[in-house]
Symmetry: C2
Subunit: 149 residues, 2 copies
Amino acid sequence: MTDDKYAALKLENQLCFPLYACSKEIVRRYKPFLDELDLTYTQYIAMMVMWDNHELSVKELGDKLYLDSGTLTPVLKKLESKGYVTRCRSKEDERVLLVGITASGMDLKEKATSIPPKMSRCLNICKEEFTQLYELLYKVLGNMEAEEE
Amino acid sequence: MTDDKYAALKLENQLCFPLYACSKEIVRRYKPFLDELDLTYTQYIAMMVMWDNHELSVKELGDKLYLDSGTLTPVLKKLESKGYVTRCRSKEDERVLLVGITASGMDLKEKATSIPPKMSRCLNICKEEFTQLYELLYKVLGNMEAEEE
DNA sequence: AACAATTAAATTGTATAAAATCAAATTGTT
DNA sequence: AACAATTTGATTTTATACAATTTAATTGTT
């Protein structure tokens, strides 16, 4: 019964499903912590990139986050309305919209330092498992990107 | 610089991010295959459960898929409109909405058998890595569920 | 210089997701 | 039986996501 012709169509034999479920669950666990900063998960990972890069284009941000302008435009407008980032066209190329971090946005980084340790406790996995999972996920991501050739 | 006080806030040191990105990318890879069946990814995993269970409540379906009625109600109405499932209240308990699979819904299973092998090629990972990743993901899911106590 | 091709964002439309609230039905307690 | 508490699904609201289209700007070619 486990190797019938339909075995590959069972939910419990999928890799995509635990990935999908795990991703959603983790985002859900972040919510109470992120609520304290008044950030959503998408806004949080966007801010993470901004904390490290200070200024970059929507395109560059999208490449790092695997998100396109359809998703990023409203997220960035929200972050702008909260005063964490600025949005202005590049002088060199008017097509490019440069996203810059504000002083207030940099201040938020300090408050955010409490989040990673809280989430670590939530995941409750050891260092070896973290590394294994991390490497496998980036390998799969790499495989898929390579496929686009 | 890698172990400064902000290291844990870098995107490349997160586990959540490759999980989130990987999940989205995989769902995106499914799209062209699922388009042939006129199913979205969420509809596809819902059908997977239906192919195996034939009839169950929205609650039971939600428990299996980690989704609540807010997400499932529109998905199931769509699947009903396509003629793949039926939706009717339980005679024993009128609060319960039973989802049942139709003959047309079962027929779809045959067409869907082509999908798993296509996705396998897309992921391009060996059996050992598949198993490792699978087990790590279910372990994390289990840890998070256990935490709810 | 003229203009086709390309590129970057924004917009539009469809489908998720999750939290919060609501309504109806059922169960437990007295 | 009366009624409070619980359970189930639907609805509403907010925020993603992504495909497809549009607009504006830039680049490449002749």
